[in-house]
Symmetry: C2
Subunit: 431 residues, 2 copies
């Protein structure tokens, strides 16, 4: 029976889950796959994390070299996250001829090119199913199942923290701040949640998906990223009146030989399947020229859901002696120039939800409408609600398809009107 030895860097939530799975299911893998997969060593500077694993002392690595330079180890699994020292460890492992499995989206989005280059020169594979959407096989779906497809679009809920927050706002009828507090208490948000709520986590994941579908990583600054921290309950309520939900979506679309890459709160129909994705769950739609619309839904995070994807990568490597060769073309592609130009957000052509806070005065709507018309923007529906206490009027609109730059210019102009009391809110609609 083929034997594969695995070394794990990081004994935290995911690393611990992988270590336990390797030990607990060894005979199951041997029976199911005819491969003996051994846990060789685990490394973590945190002694408590190591102790919590309750593994034999011989399985505890003395230092990082005991993993990345260990001649007995075939696959190194990196699960410490973050850029440093993860990057150093991963490069070192690749240099030493180890295949690498990682769940580190930040590392790939930031240094994917450099890491793939090392994999190329060492002729080993780096796999990363767990880096996007935890348990969901999104990488394998795009890379293997839909390999014959020209991918036209991908969009979905890829950040569990934000989806948990927006679900709480709807279901508990509460503010963003209260929902965030609840997410922290339940362990769905970090004590510093900015990485999630500002959209950067989703942006990293979108970068990896985009590389798979469209050929290359992109510079983070070329992507449009807007988080959910300004999301207000009243916008969710207005949207629902019109049959929409608001979710933080990551969106990639190929249009006229350019790629749209954007992360932002988005109105989607309550009849759309993504509206049924609640709490910390994730879901990704993929549209290919052959398969049409497809979706995968599941747990986007958590110890065992993520460990399941890490295990799938380990087993893929264990089962395919040619694993480097079939990934080689991807590693090479990323070394070259991007095949597509990234579309500017100002050129986006879509529908919008907008909310204005104005003084309570006759003719306000007419003034707003005339500015919009001047910028070639056409209104589809309007609600006007006076607030008796603040003497403020809320004007909410759905806008027909318009160019984003025109919207931005119009809203700036409207904001300068004397009747305007607050900066207008604009949220894109996805059909």
């Amino acid at each position: 029976m083929r034997k594969i030895n695995v070394g794990i860097i990081g004994a935290g939530t995911i690393g611990g889950g992988v270590a336990k799975t390797l030990l607990r299911k060894k005979s199951f893998f041997a029976k199911q796959l005819g491969v003996e997969i051994n846990l060789a060593k685990v490394f973590d500077i945190n002694k408590k994390a190591i102790a919590a694993l309750e593994i034999k002392p011989s399985l505890v690595a003395k230092n990082i070299d005991d993993i990345v330079k260990n001649k007995e180890i075939d696959i190194v699994v990196e699960l410490i996250g973050g850029l440093n020292p993860a990057k150093k460890f991963v490069l070192e492992a690749l240099k030493n001829g180890k295949h690498v499995v990682t769940a580190n989206k930040a590392l790939l989005a930031d240094s994917g090119k450099e890491i793939f280059k090392q994999a190329l020169s060492s002729k080993v594979a780096i796999k990363f199913e767990a880096s996007v959407c935890g348990a969901m096989p999104v990488i394998k779906m795009i890379q293997e199942s839909f390999v014959s497809n020209d991918i036209k679009a991908m969009y979905g809920i890829v950040n569990g923290t934000c989806n948990y927050i927006s679900t709480r706002m709807v279901e508990d009828n509460c503010s963003f701040e209260d929902a965030l507090e609840c997410a922290k208490q339940k362990g769905f948000a970090e004590s510093d949640p900015s990485f999630d709520i500002e959209g950067y986590d989703a942006c990293h994941k979108l970068n990896i998906l985009s590389m798979l579908a469209f050929g290359n990583f992109v510079n983070k600054k070329d992507m449009y990223v807007e988080g959910i921290k300004h999301l207000q309950l009243q916008d969710i309520e207005f949207a629902r009146q019109w049959g929409y939900d608001i979710k933080l979506l990551a969106i990639a679309k190929k249009k006229n030989d350019k790629i749209e890459l954007r992360v932002h709160p988005t109105l989607i129909s309550l009849k759309h399947m993504l509206s049924a994705v609640k709490n910390e769950d994730n879901a990704l739609f993929v549209k290919g020229d052959m398969v049409g619309n497809s979706m995968v839904y599941g747990k986007g995070a958590g110890r065992y859901p993520t460990a399941s994807s890490v295990m799938a990568d380990i087993i893929d490597i264990a089962g395919n002696p040619n694993i480097f060769e079939i990934n080689k073309a991807m590693y090479e592609r990323v070394q070259g120039k991007p095949s597509y130009e990234i579309a500017k957000i100002g050129d986006l052509f879509t529908r919008y939800y907008v909310r204005f806070a104005t003084v309570d005065q006759t003719g306000v709507l007419a003034r707003i409408a005339s500015v919009l018309a001047k910028h070639n923007i056409s209104i589809s529906t309007v609600i006007q609600t006076p607030k008796t206490v603040s003497k403020e009027v809320t004007v909410v609109m759905l806008i027909h398809k318009a160019k984003e730059q025109n919207m931005v210019n119009a809203l700036k102009e409207i904001n300068k009107l004397k009747v305007s009391k607050k900066k207008p809110v604009m949220i894109r609609i996805e059909d």
Copy 2:
């Protein structure tokens, strides 16, 4: 560059789609994967189908041996469907050392053991992603992505024809017969639709999924199969009043070391994601011990969606010289005895929807309720609707969890009551 030659048996909808894809995307595959995949030969007894492909005469196989015994061919793709002569062709190809890719669910459900045995003895692989749910990567998800999971349950919409019919009934407010007629006109139902509407197509697919998740094919007679041909619009309407949709589901569950395998119309909550799966689309939920609940959704049939899955199998074989070895354990497992006993439908413990047609007479509900109580069956909700014209009363109930055999016995007894005008309707509820 690695070269792989492919021979196709069957130039119909799917076969033609695969042939066209191989020709059209050859350079795309070479660039993406570093593998040259050539269309070597296509065979079909239907000359018109061959002519429609508009391929070079040198690519047209003179006879079946020109594919299955052709020394130049590495992979044989069988896309003629049905048991014979597909089985003969597939066995012949395997005997001659060709890997086989097929979309033939009937063949696998009926003769999977024999075919896997031949693959074992010839040391080649047989792959079948397109046999279940067209474009959706359900096989790869269970076999590879979730390989570390102990699969607890799988359930979903796996027959596009039935889902199209039930969607039409809801949306057009029409009878089963009218919806079926519409499905035939749109090409979503065969002229003889019995294989689909009686649930056998779903049953074949469930058998393949069950083999992947639980270790072995089962005898068709051990599965419970009930189609949708008796589905009535009034049951859909009553179900919707209580917040449920009715869909034909294929269900596999591991419970107390037994496996439930059943195909039947099922009430599912309108809030459940499966309710959002409309028309000919398919979706499958998979619950594993590590991943929790996951779902994949997409096109269950059609030329290019199915061809996409066939292509994924071809490319998997092309990219992995070890492809036989990693499938070997599965082929061997199927030669042995099933690991699990199949649960009897009478032992099912679930909730139910029931509808009685009775005479319009005081005390009818009391009589029905007392028979149910005698059989340990407890009612959760009741609606009684008198029909003024026929003087018939419709009594509809949701029943708390009960043993199916008790339900069957109780309904038989109620049907014998003088007040009963028609055989009661019973539909299972899935929570």
